[in-house]
Symmetry: C2
Subunit: 382 residues, 2 copies
């Protein structure tokens, strides 16, 4: 079903990184930024959707109360790394269907409080047997490298690109570029992946204000161009054996669904924000999105295609590898990046003429399946 | 906005109580029961919404994979004790808007693994200072008793009623009735509340299959009468000082919203399932729902009005006090009860001629506000 006339009329995010305040405070701070960006009154907000993983019971309502939105219908949405994107998609359908006119969406997470890696769930027997996220991505890296002749140096190029982009993003957790040598000499995490192949733990909040068409003209006057949520796809992973381990079935299905009623095609896409939780994840996702042929991501990487300044920048914000990855905030922050790009507010990393973009998040482990949740959103300038 | 042509065509729940399997297994078991009840093929399910509080990252996707629904769009919805109801409301709007034709909704929880009471969130400063759920309800009990001359014995009558109802429900956690004396001599928890004034911790899963109008005739042939989701209200609590502590503003607002486009009124209601997490909660909720005047709940209790067999039974299933309260499962189990009542499958506790019912859940603590989340659903026989 199409998403009709849903626009991002306000946006904002905290810096990603270590913060000494609760996650709900970060979420509320982001909402206040987005509300200020929207120029709406708080009384105009009909509902609040909040994406987070570890915020705890009714964390979204606590965020809302802190932000000045106590009393509105509030829903907490969790879909692992796709939590923020899922919240946006559910909110967008809420507006498209006429249920609401204005919905505030927030994603936040506080990860620096917890030590070590994200623990698998008690009933995630694959994770409990060792197939945690770094291990799973490492196995996929070996598969990909074997199949397509990718080298360890090639892989490091993903991190180098995204850290170069992130160095142009004042809100990024890692604001400094790195060299191939930095990546290749960082400590091993899960062979062949090294520390700089992995996104960091971090804290942060991001928020967007979605609204129906009657708010569009005022938003255009305020921002120039704004983001129209033109299409979205959200899926869980299919059962093992129904897909190739060398191609992201879940990403492909979500992308097909997102484009199906969007009015644009892959050829129209000017840039993408994709879920590069590990360096190897970016080629899998870019190929799953259909932005290049399977097995050709690295050819284009070497040509500079995915760079800011190239013909199809991927992760101009710095992506998860550089901007950071406070789980619930990530998908919302991607839409913030699209909003900055479309409105000409992306500073040094501005992509000229950007009018169509994709965002992609994916995450979570479900034994016996390709994985938890994947969300793809097609954004068109309005 | 109205909810149009959304029907409950299948339903099922596990017994509530202590279970030795993971919560996701309970959720999946409930889905399989509901699917069997619906007589649909699994391939006909368009999406899955799962309400839970403590299931962990992508627990809903794990439930889906176990149940045979791997691959479908899946959303985890959390709103404390209103998680299951919120999942139903979001799913119902998904169908009403034409986004989906068939949505499986599941609520589950596994609480017996955790010791002691539910811990307040780190940033719930009221909870951290001692205003945990039993304490909050105890304070409200004192207020209510002072205001309306309610006695400790009166209060015990709520538990006696609901335990009497639960003794007619083979899926209830507490299948045995209790006496006034049992309640009054149980150990003190938070004065004036005693152990039998408090709902138990428990595990369980519940599921309903929601579908659009094209599935109605087949469902009627199968079940006789089914539930139409005729209206719903979902709100977070307003800021302290904007409401009276003697009347549930959040419940009132959710009820008004639920009735506003439902085509029925309070006068049409034949029974209600309400959130009796503590004995004192039932009068507050019944009055907030507008089923009697403020301060008169106990007069009607003594007249037998709220009994199965009375003119307006409240919690025929046994409610949380007897059936149990596995958080995410509770709101979904309430709709299962309505489905059993409407289709004539409620056994000993059957309410003859039941054709309009209310369900109500409410929970979660948000400092500085009335509370987390409240969901009210108006059900009409179809």
């Amino acid at each position: 079903m199409s998403i009709d006339d849903v626009y991002v009329i306000g946006w904002g995010m905290t810096p990603f990184g270590r913060h000494e305040v609760p996650g709900t405070t970060l979420g509320a701070k982001a909402i206040r930024m987005a509300m200020e960006s929207s120029a709406l009154e708080y009384s105009e907000v009909d509902a609040l959707y909040v994406g987070h993983v570890y915020g705890g019971m009714v964390a979204g309502e606590r965020v809302g109360a802190l932000a000045g939105l106590a009393g509105v219908p509030t829903v907490n949405v969790e879909n692992a790394c796709a939590s923020g994107s899922s919240a946006i998609i559910e909110a967008a359908y809420g507006i498209s269907s006429g249920r609401y006119d204005v919905v505030a969406v927030c994603g936040f997470e506080k990860l620096t409080d917890s030590g070590g890696m994200l623990a698998p769930a008690d009933d995630d027997y694959e994770g409990r047997l060792g197939l945690v996220f770094p291990g799973w991505h490492a196995m996929r890296a070996r598969l990909y490298m074997d199949a397509f002749g990718t080298t360890r140096e090639d892989l490091a190029g993903v991190t180098v690109k995204n850290r170069t982009h992130g160095a142009m993003n004042p809100l990024a957790q890692f604001p400094n570029p790195v060299t191939l040598d930095d990546v290749l000499t960082s400590r091993e995490i899960a062979t062949p992946l090294r520390l700089l192949d992995c996104c960091p733990r971090g804290d942060g909040g991001a928020s967007v204000i979605l609204a129906s068409k009657k708010y569009l003209e005022a938003a255009r006057r305020r921002h120039g161009s704004v983001v129209k949520i033109a299409g979205a796809g959200l899926f869980s992973g299919r059962t093992d054996g129904t897909y190739s381990p060398l191609f992201e079935d879940i990403t492909h299905r979500a992308t097909e669904a997102a484009f199906s009623t969007s009015g644009v095609t892959r050829d129209d896409v000017k840039f993408a924000e994709v879920h590069d939780c590990f360096s190897i994840a970016e080629p899998f996702r870019v190929e799953g999105l259909g932005l290049c042929e399977q097995g050709t991501y690295f050819d284009h990487l070497k040509d500079g295609k995915w760079n800011v300044g190239g013909s199809l920048p991927v992760n101009p914000s710095g992506g998860l590898l550089s901007k950071g990855h406070p789980l619930g905030a990530t998908g919302v922050a991607q839409i913030c990046e699209v909003a900055w790009q479309f409105s000409g507010g992306a500073g040094e990393r501005q992509i000229d003429g950007a009018d169509v973009a994709l965002t992609h998040t994916r995450g979570g482990s479900v034994p016996g399946t390709e994985g938890g949740s994947c969300a793809v959103i097609v954004c068109v300038s309005a």
